[in-house]
């Protein structure tokens, strides 16, 4: 932390938000100084978004009531932080403070729409989570950037265009000149988020609010965006409020961290303090659950175990219809691997690299163009009729999203017993009930929950139900496709533990698909790295993590947040 105390850019005090009678933010306070980054972390639904929207006056929900105070400081970035300002900063931004306090600050809670409009875009820039929907599809990038320049700086025509060009260049868009007239759909997701950042920084705001700006992106892209923001912040001295559910990421970017839980602020500390000396048990739990490289290893599996699954030369192509015609996507290109009984094979790769396609081929959801798969002597891809049905008993699958992999209209019991019914193993009503109870107990759920509906369960509980259903037929191979990705870290940790215990107890073999290498390291004996449908590396986990051979693998590894926040490394206390 900087030793000098300066006026904060944004000071939030006892902010409370209620939607109707339900409080969703219960007294949050923080302040962020120029050039500093405040991280807000917490599980999904903990009120992170509500907090910043309410604090910046952008909350637009029928029935939402905001109390408390949020003051936007007046000082220009240059005066306060000593950091260099952008080329055009300062010009004309001085007199924009609204009808706030006499000292040039602006109270944002309860401010008039006019005041807020003057502040938004000019003094506060926003970057939202989903870059694919945050940009207007029918306006050119140049136009979207220059809009706020026009509104707040009176810039138009040539000048605005020049500024837009500078901004695109600054956020690292290649060939910015030609991109000025491009439309959002012509960019990749990462590039779109860069443009969003350019939009947010157009008027050199004193404050940048970034709400999960990288959640929708690949790990590698995420690392680039983090780097970009840090670099710009460093150059311009902008204060940043960065929201994420990922404590590892927050550790990388933030100077100070606020931890929210159920709308309550449980802890607010400088990041290093927080990591080194967490006070609140919830913070400790979050830290412990954080998937970190090199922290956990799976229980060793017998190396001599016979191969259960042998895949050779798998080849999958999809025909894709786009408005411009049909094209092909080579989702899997000559993929081969062996999976031994009782082992876990981790499959990693960026989004779209073909991970799920492997799972879909093995479960019969996708028919490959070539290759073979052999499950202990049975050709998986050639079975028909009865034999196929028998095969289905041996391979079970657990999907990513616990919210959609259970039919909301069926009770837990019905869902779990469905495979039993299908394979005629129900053994009468009573038999099925007993088996369901047994399965629920196996995944640490009360047997009585068989009568509940999915909406009565939390995400983690639902995923347990999915696992119970997958285990109903006592499969040999369980395919887990991002089965923990959508869970909050603490819950994810518990589910991973459960999987490990089941493997130990039942001798299960896992094909574990994930994009998060830290999670993969935690459960896998072997790792398969996929890039655009091709296998780039396939080795024992220990070897791979110790000594990644391919650039791609190294890039994936580099993107994982380190144990100790990088902020700490950059700025020794």
């Amino acid at each position: 932390m900087s030793a000098r105390r300066v006026a904060p850019v944004l000071a939030v005090d006892d902010l409370r938000v209620a939607i109707g009678p339900t409080p969703v933010v219960r007294g949050v306070s923080f302040a962020v100084e120029p050039g500093q980054t405040l991280g807000i972390v917490g599980e999904s639904g903990s009120g992170k978004t509500m907090t910043v929207l309410a604090a910046t006056g952008l909350l637009d929900l029928p029935g939402a009531v905001v109390h408390g105070s949020s003051v936007l400081g007046a000082p220009l970035v240059g005066e306060a932080g000593g950091a260099s300002t952008g080329a055009t900063a300062g010009a004309g931004s001085g007199g924009t403070a609204g009808a706030g306090a006499g000292d040039g600050t602006t109270q944002l809670v309860g401010a008039s729409a006019r005041t807020l409009r003057r502040v938004h875009g000019d003094r506060i820039g926003f970057v939202f989570q989903d870059p694919s929907t945050s940009l207007n599809p029918i306006l050119t990038l140049g136009r979207q950037i220059s809009e706020s320049l026009e509104a707040h700086r009176g810039l138009s025509g040539r000048k605005a265009r020049d500024r837009a060009f500078d901004l695109l260049e600054a956020v690292g868009i290649p060939e910015p000149a030609s991109r000025l007239d491009a439309y959002p759909h012509q960019l990749s997701g990462g590039q779109r988020q860069r443009v969003m950042i350019a939009v947010a920084l157009a008027c050199d705001p004193a404050l940048l609010v970034a709400d999960e700006p990288t959640t929708a992106l690949d790990v590698t892209t995420q690392a680039q965006i983090v780097e970009l923001v840090r670099e710009l912040q460093h150059r311009l001295g902008t204060a940043v409020v960065w929201i994420s559910h990922d404590l590892g990421l927050i550790g990388q970017v933030a100077d100070e961290v606020t931890v929210l839980r159920g709308g309550e602020q449980v802890e607010r500390r400088p990041v290093l303090d927080l990591v080194d000396r967490p006070e609140h048990p919830y913070t400790r739990e979050l830290l412990a659950a954080r998937p970190l490289l090199g922290q956990h290893r799976p229980a060793p599996a017998p190396a001599s175990a016979e191969p259960l699954l042998t895949v050779e030369g798998l080849d999958v192509r999809f025909a894709v219809a786009s408005p411009a015609g049909r094209t092909h996507v080579h989702a899997l290109d000559d993929v081969s691997f062996v999976l031994r009984r009782g082992h876990t094979l981790g499959v990693v790769g960026e989004s779209g690299s073909g991970k799920s396609t492997i799972a879909n081929v093995l479960t019969g959801l996708v028919r490959p163009q070539g290759g073979r798969a052999d499950l202990a002597g049975v050709d998986v891809l050639q079975q028909r009729g009865k034999a196929l049905k028998a095969l289905r008993r041996r391979i079970a699958m657990v999907f990513q999203d616990p919210f959609s992999s259970l039919n909301t209209r069926s009770t837990v019991g019905t869902s779990v017993s469905e495979p039993l019914v299908v394979h005629g193993l129900a053994g009468g009503r009573g038999g099925a009930r007993a088996r369901v109870a047994e399965l629920l107990r196996l995944v640490d759920l009360p047997a009585a929950w068989a009568d509940r509906y999915p909406h009565e369960l939390s995400g983690g509980q639902r995923q347990r139900v999915s696992i119970a259903r997958a285990l109903a037929l006592e499969p040999e191979l369980v395919i887990l496709d991002e089965s923990t990705a959508s869970l909050d870290v603490s819950i994810q940790a518990r589910v991973l533990e459960l999987l490990a215990r089941l493997q130990a107890e039942l001798g299960l073999t896992y094909l574990f698909i994930a994009h998060d290498l830290a999670v993969v390291e935690r459960v896998s004996h072997d790792v398969l790295v996929l890039q655009r449908g091709r296998v780039v590396e396939h080795r024992p986990a220990a070897d791979l993590f110790a000594d990644p051979r391919e650039d791609y693998t190294r890039a994936l590894l580099a993107a994982i947040p380190p144990v100790r926040p990088r902020a700490a490394a950059d700025r020794p206390a």
Binding site: P21, S405, P419
Partner: protein, 332 residues
């Protein structure tokens, strides 16, 4: 025109989102560990809106009238009494009498059954055929889907009224023809709705899970697909009944629908045509009956859509909570 809206192939309005679907609900409450409270049941949300309640009550009344029609009617429906023709509304004849001295109130009441029956039979036909085709198309995919959907495209290219007219031209006017014509006309919209829903349900992970477990098509259809498309189909049914009533009225108004002496609302308007300036009541009351019934169906359809559409649903819940709160006198 009026009769045509159901055919408009606009996905926005025709296919409300999937209840419980994965899309668009990311911001809605996601409970963490520890079960969430059971949300307000759909029908309670439905009856929360006074508009919906009024619509439901109106429809209930219409239904009762349809069932009891002749019993409620003060006069025999076809009893001609020419000397008493064209009497304005009075104590003896609340809705006046028509050109043959028949009681307009009695005819309007009895017509309820005919109008409703035509609409319901027609929509039932459309529902069974359309939903069947739509599910097969959406679930099976492939060339069957292509062929069926081309067929639906073709049907959509026909203007509703002209197609109905053409069918009547071929089969001759009458009750059965009317039902068939309207039924055929409304089949493609059901096919589209069912197909769209079946398609979206088919790719739902819980269906994928079923497939990976080796569940047969029949069971998947019964357990997952059918309940999955129920919401949109219910909404479409409500709206289609409304439009079918209008279509029947239009066909009968042209003299090509229900045949005399059997009264339907549209036929009564046809009969009233020549008497507009002398006997407004002959046109006004059956017209009002159509208007009110159709409006009730439409409003209820809208209400159903709101309740069955997840995005609307969370909004409704918030409103409901807000109202409860205000009633309790607590300020947030």
């Amino acid at each position: 025109m009026t009769q045509l809206t159901p055919g408009s192939p606009l996905p926005e309005d025709a296919v409300p989102g999937q209840p419980g679907g994965p899309s668009g609900v990311a911001t809605a409450a996601r409970p963490d560990e520890g079960p969430a409270a059971r949300p307000a049941a759909g029908w309670r949300l439905l009856l929360d809106s006074p508009v919906n309640v009024v619509s439901a009550v109106v429809l209930l009344v219409v239904l009762v009238v349809a069932l009891l029609g002749p019993a409620l009617a003060p006069y025999a429906v076809n009893a001609v009494d020419v000397p008493a023709a064209l009497q304005p509304p009075s104590g003896a004849h609340w809705f006046g009498t028509d050109d043959l001295g028949r009681d307009v109130l009695s005819r309007t009441l009895v017509a309820t059954r005919v109008s409703l029956q035509v609409a319901v039979v027609a929509v039932a036909f459309a529902l069974v055929v359309g939903v069947g085709a739509g599910i097969v198309s959406g679930y099976a995919g492939g060339w069957l889907d292509t062929v069926l959907m081309r067929l639906v495209d073709v049907m959509f290219a026909f203007p509703v009224m002209l197609l109905a007219l053409a069918i009547v031209a071929v089969l001759g006017p009458g009750l059965t023809t009317t039902q068939l014509a309207i039924g055929i006309v409304y089949t493609p919209i059901f096919a589209r709705v069912a197909r769209a829903s079946a398609l979206s349900v088919r790719v739902e992970p819980f269906v994928q899970v079923s497939r990976t477990m080796g569940t047969g098509h029949a069971l998947i259809l019964r357990r997952h697909i059918l309940p999955g498309i129920a919401g949109p189909v219910i909404v479409q049914t409500s709206l289609s009944v409304a439009f079918a009533i209008l279509s029947e009225a239009a066909l009968s108004f042209l003299g090509l629908g229900v045949q005399p002496p059997r009264p339907s609302w549209g036929r009564m308007l046809f009969d009233a045509q020549g008497f507009l300036s002398q006997a407004w009541w002959m046109a006004v009351f059956p017209g009002l009956a159509i208007f009110v019934t159709v409006l009730a169906f439409n409003l209820l359809g809208d209400g159903l859509r709101d309740v069955l559409d997840p995005r609307q649903r969370s909004l409704l819940r918030t409103r409901r909570l807000l109202r409860a709160h205000r009633r309790a006198g607590v300020r947030p």
